[in-house]
């Protein structure tokens, strides 16, 4: 089975104070550390597991700049065979445009399955995968938590709200957006990443993929980014841990919880 996995590198934003930059339309990113998008990590693992079971190839692909090659190399170390980076240059991207660029490149590749993450941890769109599916004319499903191939079909689980799963059969080739928890992504060592450095990583410029200037425009426009309005929010409990513990136990008692 030949599989294509779309991956994105995203900034880690836990435990940092995000600031809006001077344009008012982005955050300051210089000081942030980056990782592979969590959902994509599960998608990569799923593709490698399928390859190990069914043979075939795994190609990972990203639309991003040179620094984003980190996540491609990491995927190669996990077991992907080839990587493609599409250099967007100065283009302003949104989900619509990213899906257009990806579709244009993936059209020329061989595949039975395309995997994406459910959503990217930065913009939280949850749209690139299914837009890509429609452009490629593929059967598709979102929020997939199980996949079992049977010839030209597969049985899949889609996670719905409230702990309910929907089981269905889908025709291949298909595009699935992968949900966290579908597998346990393997550990990647620095050594592993170094070794995978020999694998093929191709870079294509967006000007060279055959899309016209009119096709390279976004459909949504960022008007502004802003920090969440200061609401009343939580009443903060200050002090050392023992004061805090006392206060928590006092609140429990007030609220009628017996400890």
């Amino acid at each position: 089975m030949d599989i294509i996995v779309c991956v994105k590198r995203v900034p880690m934003t836990q435990e940092v104070d995000l600031e809006i930059d001077d344009s008012g339309k982005d955050i300051k990113k210089d000081a942030l550390a980056y990782v592979v998008n969590d959902w994509d990590n599960y998608a990569i693992e799923e593709s490698v597991l399928l390859k190990e079971k069914l043979d075939g190839t795994v190609t990972v692909i990203t639309v991003g700049d040179e620094d984003d090659e980190d996540v491609l190399r990491r995927a190669l170390a996990m077991g992907a065979d080839k990587a493609i980076r599409i250099e967007p240059g100065e283009l302003e991207l949104d989900g619509f445009l990213i899906s257009n660029i990806l579709a244009q490149v993936i059209k020329g590749l061989e595949y039975d399955l395309v995997l994406t993450g459910v959503q990217a941890d930065d913009d939280n769109f949850g749209m690139v995968g299914i837009m890509l599916a429609e452009r490629l004319g593929l059967a598709h499903s979102a929020v997939v938590t199980g996949f079992e191939a049977e010839g030209s079909e597969a049985t899949i689980n889609v996670e719905l709200e409230g702990g309910l799963d929907e089981v269905s059969k889908i025709k291949l080739p298909a595009l699935l957006s992968i949900q966290t928890g579908i597998n346990e992504p393997r550990y990647v060592s620095i050594m592993g990443i170094r070794k995978a450095g020999k694998k093929e990583l191709n870079v294509v410029k967006v000007e060279d993929i055959g899309l016209s200037d009119e096709e390279l425009v976004r459909q949504t426009i960022i008007e502004e980014y802003f920090l969440p309005p200061e609401t009343e929010g939580a009443e903060m409990i200050e002090g050392d841990p023992s004061n805090i513990a006392e206060a928590i136990l006092r609140i429990l008692k007030e609220k009628g919880v017996s400890v």
């Binding site: 104070d17 996670e159 709200e161 008007e223 841990p241 023992s242």
Partner: protein, 324 residues
């Protein structure tokens, strides 16, 4: 005047809450801008919920066919594309649910209408829709507009709009329609629903939940927190990453894809407060959040907050309980 079209989400003969939330918001916009509110139902024969929808809409378009009993992205896309091509609604609202995430992006490509997903608010300024979204897991908000078009697609985050008890009765008429005859081949076939939620602990009945998130760091720490929960007379619960890593079974998970809980007190240790998690604790009496990050979104909804290392607080709680 334009039309606002709401795609009704229903499952197993019941309308999902997100539908009422969208109808409420659409109703507000229609009132302010004199638009018409049309609800579109793709459903099986004689769905019982049509009246509920009609009460809240100016018109209901009901595609009635047993092939539509269950959601099918292929069918929905085909039918809605046909409808949108004919009536060109100004705004089409779809839920940002698992099904909505499978439908809306493909419908956007098919219709050519720009799409904004997971929106928490919708504004109309100078005749153009604009949306508010939350990005970076809720740490930043973004206001977005669209490239000029005659229609726009917006998916709405569940829980963003709270319809009041007393609804604004619109009492729309129901127009029944048949499925178009020339349907494409279906590439996906529904087999069954399975409930992944049941287990030997029921977090929905507890008065006190001690809930742990990714901040717990390692599997070994889960056991310690379980002990704390028990010593406090409460029950352990968790956020999704803890289940994803197999540190706890699924039936401990709180949130949209887990359980909705209603304890008197919810203690959140190392949980950032993603909306999918918060959706599960709207019924909690009091929320106390413990997080190292003072900007964690959970502090915006918690009643009490502690900015500290969760392990220090957990240890101190254990100490106090020993003494007491």
């Amino acid at each position: 005047m334009g039309e606002i079209l709401v795609v009704v989400e229903h499952r197993q003969e019941e309308v999902r809450d997100i539908t009422f939330e969208m109808l409420f918001k659409a109703g507000e916009l229609c009132k302010e801008f004199s638009h018409t509110l049309t609800a579109v139902v793709l459903g099986g024969k004689e769905e019982q919920f049509i009246d509920e929808v009609a009460k809240r809409s100016d018109n209901v378009i009901y595609y009635e066919d047993d092939r539509l009993k269950n959601f099918s992205a292929d069918l929905y896309k085909e039918v809605l594309n046909g409808l949108i091509e004919k009536t060109r609604p100004f705004i089409t609202l779809i839920g940002h649910s698992s099904w909505g995430m499978e439908l809306a992006p493909s419908l956007s490509i098919k219709t050519g209408y720009p799409l904004a997903t997971d929106c928490v608010d919708i504004l109309i300024e100078d005749g153009h829709p604009k949306v508010i979204r939350q990005i970076y897991s809720g740490k930043v908000f973004s206001k977005m507009s669209f490239k000029e078009s005659d229609g726009y697609l917006i998916t709405v985050r569940p829980g963003s709009f709270q319809p009041p008890e007393a609804i604004d009765e619109r009492n729309g008429g129901v127009i029944k329609k048949d499925l178009p005859g020339d349907l494409p081949e279906m590439r996906k076939e529904f087999i069954e629903f399975i409930d992944s939620g049941a287990g030997d602990v029921d977090i929905t009945q507890a008065d006190l939940l001690v809930s742990v998130g990714r901040g717990i760091g390692e599997a070994e720490n889960v056991e310690d927190m379980k002990e704390l929960a028990e010593r406090m007379g409460g029950v352990l619960a968790c956020s999704r990453p803890v289940v994803d890593k197999n540190w706890l079974p699924k039936y401990y998970q709180v949130g949209t894809s887990g359980k909705s809980v209603k304890p008197k007190v919810y203690l959140a240790f190392g949980i950032s407060g993603a909306f999918q998690h918060l959706a599960g604790i709207t019924g909690a009496g009091t929320v106390i959040a413990i997080n190292k990050d003072k900007k964690a979104p959970i502090f915006r909804v918690a009643d009490y907050g502690v900015v500290d290392d969760l392990f220090k607080v957990a240890d101190a709680l254990k100490e106090q309980l020993k003494e007491g």
